[in-house]
């Protein structure tokens, strides 16, 4: 089975993770623009970060046969530095039309301040202008209200809900998200977000329509194999392969594919390892590593 991880911060992950993901069947990743664990203080940091996402990180992924895409945007935390946020708004148009940028994201609310609201709205307008999907980070504190508000504001600005991915859902938010026609993304992340046993129950209850999962693996304790592990668990728990494929591959492809920058042929047609030459029969990937072992048999994430 092939998987897409449509929300993963590869900048914070090692090549061990890329190798493991490749081994486990991940063919494509989407890396949302986010913060770096502490607030940026200069506009140059944003520019160099966006450049990194469309540049070196894309290359790094390709060395492991994984296609890398990203969303570009000003995240909710850093929207609170208004002077800097203004400068980022100037910068965004330079990056949102780059190849492989599949959405404006990850944007939304963190604390639900006035500043966050202002820059969320501005970026919704930008997304409309360039006709890109929107990737919404729903707040972790006051999540239910924050999610409802995120959707209401998106609709207020005339976004088509089919172009909007509401991320980090849970049992409390999913109904409203699906009812209003948005995509419902779930992050399988130990301790603080969804677990994959709970996810399995959600899929059993709601079916696969407009639901998909991600790992949001980042600097914290998180699992870049969350998507393949959850797929395995779902199959073990009796969910049909077709449904599992929707939730771990096809729905993400459809949602972000609306950008025109994410095509299945990107990884199906091409030589997945982006090196055209071998030297003396050895792959010129860094080190020519032997692939790591397979996904561990215990695939429960709590």
């Amino acid at each position: 089975m092939r998987y897409i991880d449509p929300h993963v911060h590869m900048i914070s992950r090692t090549t061990d993770d890329y190798e493991a993901m490749r081994q486990a069947g991940v063919v494509a990743v989407i890396e949302p623009a986010f913060w770096m664990g502490q607030p940026r203080t200069q506009i140059g940091s944003f520019q160099d970060y966006y450049s990194h996402l469309i540049g070196f990180e894309r290359f790094r992924a390709s060395q492991f046969g994984i296609r890398h895409y990203c969303t570009i945007g000003l995240n909710s935390k850093e929207a609170n530095n208004e002077a800097l946020a203004e400068e980022v708004m100037e910068l965004l148009p330079l990056f949102v039309c780059k190849e492989g940028v599949v959405g404006v994201g990850e944007i939304g609310y963190d604390d639900q301040t006035a500043a966050e609201d202002k820059y969320y709205r501005l970026q919704l307008e930008l997304a409309k202008e360039v006709n890109l999907p929107v990737q919404i980070h729903t707040p972790h504190r006051d999540k239910k209200q924050g999610t409802l508000r995120s959707m209401a504001v998106a609709l207020e600005h005339g976004l088509d809900p089919a172009m909007v991915i509401v991320d980090h859902n849970n049992e409390e938010t999913v109904q409203a998200v699906l009812d209003q026609g948005f995509w419902a993304a779930f992050t399988i992340y130990p301790h603080t977000k969804m677990g994959n046993e709970r996810m399995t129950e959600i899929v059993k209850h709601y079916g696969p329509e407009r639901i998909f999962i991600n790992s949001a693996a980042d600097w914290g304790i998180s699992d870049p194999l969350a998507v393949p592990k959850t797929a395995r668990l779902m199959l073990e728990r009796g969910i049909s392969p077709e449904t599992v494929e929707q939730v771990t591959y096809y729905n993400a492809l459809a949602a972000f594919g609306q950008s025109g920058q994410l095509l299945e042929t990107d990884w199906l047609a091409a030589n997945p390892i982006d090196q055209s030459l071998k030297y003396s029969g050895n792959s010129i990937l860094r080190g020519g590593q032997i692939p790591v072992g397979e996904v561990a048999s215990d695939s429960v994430i709590r």
């Binding site: 520019q47 966006y50 450049s51 469309i54 540049g55 070196f56 894309r58 290359f59 148009p93 330079l94 990056f95 039309c97 780059k98 190849e99 492989g100 025109g260 982006d274 090196q275 055209s276 030459l277 071998k278 030297y279 003396s280 029969g281 050895n282 010129i284």
Partner: protein
């Protein structure tokens, strides 16, 4: 102006290779390039209108390219690359400062394939001397496609890089197992410091029991001394035919009488002097099998 002839060439090459939608888009963009914002946007958006197919240039088109500018070899170029290069050539270029600022902006926000296009375009751009630092910077990249764009099939480094930067380019190509025979002007810019550095590198690799491209010896041959000759002599006893060939080619390039003596002992492997460029190429092609 040279840039005009490059523009004409690229326009012609694209005419038969773009869809109608692509042609119309490109035509409109070229007309509106006075606006910087329009250039940046067009540069980014190009592939959506031109596709990313290999140009598949004919022998005649390739011939024209090398006549337009020695070393210009767009054999591996794609449709979006040709269109983007055309945009660069058609952008405002009233003076070197203004044009440099424009390039700075493009380079600093470029994605991987944009970067590769930018570096590959350097030999064609106006104010050529002003791009030397930028080219040296390109050599520092770890992204293979970007490194290849500046180092391989690109006459700019040979024409404009100072010796230290040139040497770093060759060293980096060796480090990253990139095919040296695809570096334009490699023989012409051989130098003693480079030979010394590569000899040291060979010792490093041998000490670690690691592989070493046989192409390295192309840069060392002309600078062999009586004391460094044993390094090449050692190659002649290798079980790897390519290493042996590299050894004989290096000896043939050396003026040392001791080298001549050694060669005559291996007369069965001796290649005629006139063929030496072809043979380094053949050796390179064999060393780097797809």
């Amino acid at each position: 102006m040279l840039q005009n002839s490059y523009q004409v060439y690229l326009t012609k090459v694209l005419q038969t290779r773009l869809s109608e939608r692509g042609q119309t888009w490109l035509h409109t963009q070229l007309a509106g390039l006075a606006s910087e914002k329009a250039l940046y946007l067009a540069f980014s958006l190009a592939p959506r209108f031109t596709g990313k197919e290999l140009l598949q240039l004919t022998a005649s088109e390739l011939q024209q390219a090398s006549e337009l500018r020695p070393g210009f070899n767009p054999e591996g170029w794609t449709t979006d690359q040709a269109a983007r290069t055309l945009l660069l050539l058609s952008a405002p270029q009233q003076d070197s400062t203004q044009y440099t600022a424009l390039l700075d902006k493009l380079f600093s926000t470029a994605g991987v394939s944009e970067l590769a296009t930018l570096y590959a375009s350097l030999p064609l751009l106006p104010y050529p001397e002003s791009h030397a630092k930028r080219a040296a910077e390109g050599v520092r990249t770890t992204m293979t496609s970007v490194f290849d764009a500046i180092a391989l099939h690109n006459p700019y480094p040979h024409d404009f890089l100072p010796q230290e930067a040139w040497n770093q380019l060759v060293l980096k190509a060796v480090f990253n197992a990139r095919p040296l025979y695809q570096i334009i002007g490699l023989d012409d810019r051989r130098n003693e410091p480079l030979a010394r550095m590569l000899l040291d590198y060979a010792h490093e690799r041998w000490a670690a029991s690691r592989t070493l491209t046989p192409e390295v010896w192309r840069l060392v041959g002309p600078y062999l001394t009586a004391s460094t000759l044993p390094n090449v002599q050692r190659l002649l006893h290798s079980s790897d035919a390519l290493q042996v060939q590299a050894g004989t080619l290096a000896l043939a390039a050396s003026g040392l009488p001791e080298a001549r003596d050694l060669l005559s002992q291996f007369s069965g492997l001796l290649f005629p002097a006139e063929d030496k460029v072809v043979n380094w190429r053949h050796l390179g092609e064999k060393a780097y099998a797809a």
